[in-house]
Every structure is written in C-alpha cells, then in structure tokens.
Symmetry: C2
Subunit: 147 residues, 2 copies
C-alpha cells in the first residue's frame, strides 16, 4: 500500500497558511476544516513548516501570549517529516507512531501534493478490511468455482 | 483483537485531572507526559469528561482567555465515547475515524481502567504485522515440515 493509494481515496487537497498569519487565523482554519494541522507555506508549494494543535497548545501556552498576537511562524514545527507518493504506508505509520507525529505532508516533484494523517492510515486499513470482506462475501454468494 | 490486548501491551496507566484545575495545568500534563488528552475525573475512577489538545485549541482560543484563568471543566468534552475491555479494536477504530476522536477511555466494572488512542490502534496493527513476519521468518528458517 502506497501513499498514492491513500491520496486517491481522500483527495490531494491540503490546507496551507502563510507564516506571517496569526495563531488565531490558523485556529480558525483548524475549526472550519475540522483538521488537526495546517501546512505552513508562503507560496503554497514549498513546505516551510507545519502547525498542529499540539504546537499551538505547547508553544503558545508556554509563553502566555494571546493567539491574535503570535505569528504562525513562531509556533510552527520546522523539522517537518515529509513523504513521497511511492512511500510505503506501513513504514510511514511506524514513523508516525515512533516520532509521535500525526501528519505527514506529501511532496511530489518538489511541490506539496497532499497530506496524510494518522487517521487516514487507520481509515485506509479499515477500508481494506471491508473490501476483503466484500470480496469474500461475493465469493461465498456465487458459490465456489467448479474444480 | 480486543481492547484488553492493547492495554496488555501499553499498560493501564491513565493521566487524570480534576475539573477545577486550570487549562494551564492540563497543558503542563500534556507536555510532560507527551500525550494528547487527559481524562477529567474528580475521584480518579468516574469519567467526568475528557480534555484534548483539540478542545483546548478550539474552546480556549474561541473565547480569547488565558490558560491560567480558565477551568478544565469549561473546555472539556462531556459527551465522552468510552469502551470496555472486551470491545473489538476494529469496530472502535471505525468509531474513532467516523467521530473524529483520538482517545477512548476504557471502563471496567464502572471504573476508569485505561485509555486507548488512535496511535495505539496503529501501533497494535504494526506490532501484529511484525509478529506475523517473525513467525514466517522462523518457519522459513526451520524449513518446511516433512510432508
């Protein structure tokens, strides 16, 4: 199972924000899109960083500042782990649990091409199990092929 | 695969906090324990709510208040989905992705007995795959049994 298979199912839409936006603006994006992280990119193609609920909770509150007064670039994570379309889903799931990150931006031809979350990994696996079950059910319904 | 199998691997420790603690205190717990949610419980046994990074980001910032001035009970989620030791992991993984929750407190005999995160679900699956591979490798190493 490859990252391209996940994107085929979920789509390649990625929400991005500029580094000079405020934390209040990124919170708005998280709430509206019901997502847990936003890729920080000034040109919409290069990944400058990623800002997650965790980054906001730990970095904003540590300094006791108001969300409207702090820039995204000051709370974002810059050591972003990214992945490619051909990367293996299982290996990346291991990376996510080991490194405790929930979102991996996908890069194709040097440009941001999608984002995969730990929720997507679980959903992909559940959908696979469902597909296997549907196949099996169909097989049983049709009867075994003559031998 | 049951929830009890997950707890056997990860342990039954659950971090709890009282509802009258401040958001600043819960943020401290999240950072120190490197977790994404804390069960809110005044007596350490009954689940009064759950407070996640998401709850803090969306509810605290929506009101523009400082973390030291807001009580946990005012930002926590009270419609907590819980699970039991005998519940099936796959069904709960589906619940987590459908309902977009990342943490399920585990209840046994009416008391808080653990917590399962979406990261634990992924880790459990990866560990199973690794066990299967180890078994297969051992089998190949030993040679096929004589037929």
């Amino acid at each position: 199972m490859r990252i391209s298979d996940v994107l085929r199912r979920k789509g390649a839409t990625v929400t991005t924000i500029r580094g000079d936006a405020t934390v209040a603006e990124v919170v708005e994006l998280l709430v509206v899109h019901r997502i847990g992280a936003v890729v920080v990119s000034d040109d919409g193609a290069r990944v400058d960083g990623i800002v997650s609920e965790r980054d906001i909770v730990t970095r904003l509150h540590g300094r006791g500042a108001a969300p409207g007064e702090v820039r995204v670039r000051d709370v974002m994570s810059t050591d972003v782990i990214t992945c490619g379309l051909e990367d293996d889903l299982e290996a990346l799931a291991r990376t996510m649990t080991d490194r405790r990150v929930r979102h991996l931006p996908v890069i194709a031809d040097g440009r941001l091409a999608g984002i995969v979350s730990i929720g997507d990994v679980v959903k992909q696996r559940l959908d696979e199990l469902q597909d296997e079950r549907d196949e099996l059910f169909k097989y049983v319904q049709q009867g075994r092929p003559a031998t």
